[in-house]
Symmetry: C2
Subunit: 497 residues, 2 copies
Amino acid sequence: MARVYDRYKSKMQKVADINHAIAVLSWDKEVNLPKDSAPHRSQQVATLAGMSHNEFVSKDFGALLNRLANMKSLSAAEKKNISVTLDAYQKATKFSEAFIIRKSTIESNAYHAWLKAREANDYGVFKDALKELVDLKREEAKKLKATEHPYDALLDIYEPGLTVAQLDPIFGGIKISLKKLIKKINKSKQVKNNFLRKRYSWNKQWEFGLDILENMGYDFNRGRQDISAHPFTTSFSPTDVRVTTRVDENDFAYMLWSTIHEGGHALYEQGLSSEEYGLPTGSYISLSIHESQSRLWENHVGRSKEYWSFWYPSLQAEFPKNLNNVSLNKFYAGINRIAPNLIRTEADELHYHFHVLIRYEIEKGLIEGSIDTDNLSEVWNEKYKEYLGISAKDDNTGVLQDVHWGHGSFGYFPTYSLGSFYAAQFYAQAEKDIPKLNKKIAKGNTTPLLNWLRENIHQHGRRYEADELCNNITGESLNVEHFLNYANTKFKSIYKK
Amino acid sequence: MARVYDRYKSKMQKVADINHAIAVLSWDKEVNLPKDSAPHRSQQVATLAGMSHNEFVSKDFGALLNRLANMKSLSAAEKKNISVTLDAYQKATKFSEAFIIRKSTIESNAYHAWLKAREANDYGVFKDALKELVDLKREEAKKLKATEHPYDALLDIYEPGLTVAQLDPIFGGIKISLKKLIKKINKSKQVKNNFLRKRYSWNKQWEFGLDILENMGYDFNRGRQDISAHPFTTSFSPTDVRVTTRVDENDFAYMLWSTIHEGGHALYEQGLSSEEYGLPTGSYISLSIHESQSRLWENHVGRSKEYWSFWYPSLQAEFPKNLNNVSLNKFYAGINRIAPNLIRTEADELHYHFHVLIRYEIEKGLIEGSIDTDNLSEVWNEKYKEYLGISAKDDNTGVLQDVHWGHGSFGYFPTYSLGSFYAAQFYAQAEKDIPKLNKKIAKGNTTPLLNWLRENIHQHGRRYEADELCNNITGESLNVEHFLNYANTKFKSIYKK
């Protein structure tokens, strides 16, 4: 019996090896690639993508999976692995190797068109490649046959089981509650954060970011940090989980919360089981759970008063000119300033969800065909005016700002909001479970929190689905009230005047 | 007809894509790998190596190759591609995928054992892994069935057709001639090079190295330079050819000639045809021809008086404290100082070949079974005493110094000497073909030389074998007299007193 399961395991690990080779090539593309080598690199990635697909969808493997699915002697974790893999197998067999290679090539082209469009600050340069990509995504969704909305099929890729029918009411409710809270805040005296925009030396920022990561528990023997235009985390195995960041000498916030955010992602990946490499039980659950880890560290830890009551003296010592006249209270208020802005990755914790909502509405429209790529720049600007009351000055601060569409990631954005909501729910539970958590954080000790996350979330891999995990930990399904409570309490205290 | 050949081409490019993915993973291993991730990375490389092999040895491909080998309508270049590939196919089919994966794994293990042995400065730590590797290499040689000496099968991997029967007389002759020349030199007054061992700032060295590479014609839009413990060049396509270097603040030579050397390799790879990607006509001929390019730039250009008559003023301006009291003549003599030393990569142009000879004799012995891995450290030291009159202080400056055996590269070293001899022969021809070549170099203009190399060597890929190319360019086969003439003239002039 064990031997049949081992055949499954070694096949999965072979596929994982290929997929992680693709991940190395992609990491290298973002961090190191020489200017003129994009076409060859795209071809290499496409070849590997095709091979990985072929390896996975082989008939022998399908037969093996079906045989294992009917075996009663497997452990619960093994059964879970088989059922997740069988589902993935059934979806993968809807696509030919040629489709996968075409998809990889179209995505690479779109990415490089997006880079060129960014250089020209002109959506027109990206438009055709995006249209080709949207058509491909619609074709992909069609093959995957969602029961209700075609966009459901794409949501499911990143968040298994997620549907438009679930998301619409969540965003509908959050929209009203956040508008109400923001309205209240707008009546208070605005807090200042101009001290973040002084000159912060590149090297000192870089060193400070490394200290922060190390203190979080990020293991540099099993990872490294580099610079890329768009910060990201990638994993080639639990022993090689890499983060990237960015540094702006005139904006300390640009580096810092991005570093903590990616650090949160990386701790999840470093906390997965090395023995379960390549299997669902050795993999993250879904992107919203992944994002719950990054947002938890970024916001609940990294923007808390306790955290900075520990770190702020070191920060002041590093940058005395910029910060010696700024009290901890003012610093804390400033880093939590609520104000609409154009850039999602720099948005405050409340407006952030309007940024996501806009992308959700646009993607839904593109996939169902009610929005066209032709005038996307205008659609974008109208939505920003409607939801945030501001308009992009140009395409780079507007429709071109995120890399996701250039990567072919449609259905991904909603997990950013869900992740924030899960983060709030998990953190509320951690505060109950860990005695004096906030006091510990105020002493620079986040180890109990990391241990709690390791024990409750990381170590299980995808042993449970998102909803199951949430119930296991908190005793209920995702409930946005936790996020709203957190936000109301925090921001009413900051904006009390 | 064209369509059959196109099927061949696309198969070859698929295999090349996988092999280049392996090259990216290997580059990343040397440049970036986190400390604890070696085992997973080794597994990923082994999986890809197995897949590449399987893809290449498929029966369909064999049939296609045989069909193409009998087609009369192919161009000469196409015929050459088919015959080279058929030969490689016949050799590859002697190995199973399991053997290839085992080989990749044993090589990775040996590499990491070598790293650990280096850390401990103890050959004993490497010994068992090396024994396993030597056994594997003997098995590999046996499967490849060399007609005369089993080592011939391994030489052939790096230098098609090269045999012990060819090498023995070459090394035998060169040994006598070099000993004679060195004896003469030893009677002259020794030149000084202590100015190279002053403090040279890391950043300035790095910048100077980049200037040198750029001036050589290395295209940074199609490559990049990084730091690694052991400098190397790798290519993922002609549009992404990367070099690495090393910097020692107390030894300027450590960085500089290594940078020029790798630059020479890289120019060859950047000069290959992008259209012939994955085919023999888009690939280098052999390692000795590759090495001819690096040694030509390193020694014939990079250690020439003309080259430094252009560069030396800039170097003095960068490091005035170290060099303002050193004349160009003294600098030139110093960088060409002849003296035995323990480290191959830092050896002078004459003693260098004794370093290679020692490795050649040891490898031959290991493969035929007359030398054992057990007491290799002693064998090493005896040979150094015999050929260079010096003994290693420890294993790191002795038997552990080169990474090659840790990589499983047996049969590789002899190409270093052959490369130097080819370099001398090619350079002598270039001096005839290019009007006032040395005057141009003295003006900092190496473009005519690069163009000559591009036209005569790089652009052809493996359209010709090494001997054929050498005859095409110089009208004769490899003739070590060119090297000996060059060496006698140069060093008698430097050591005239």
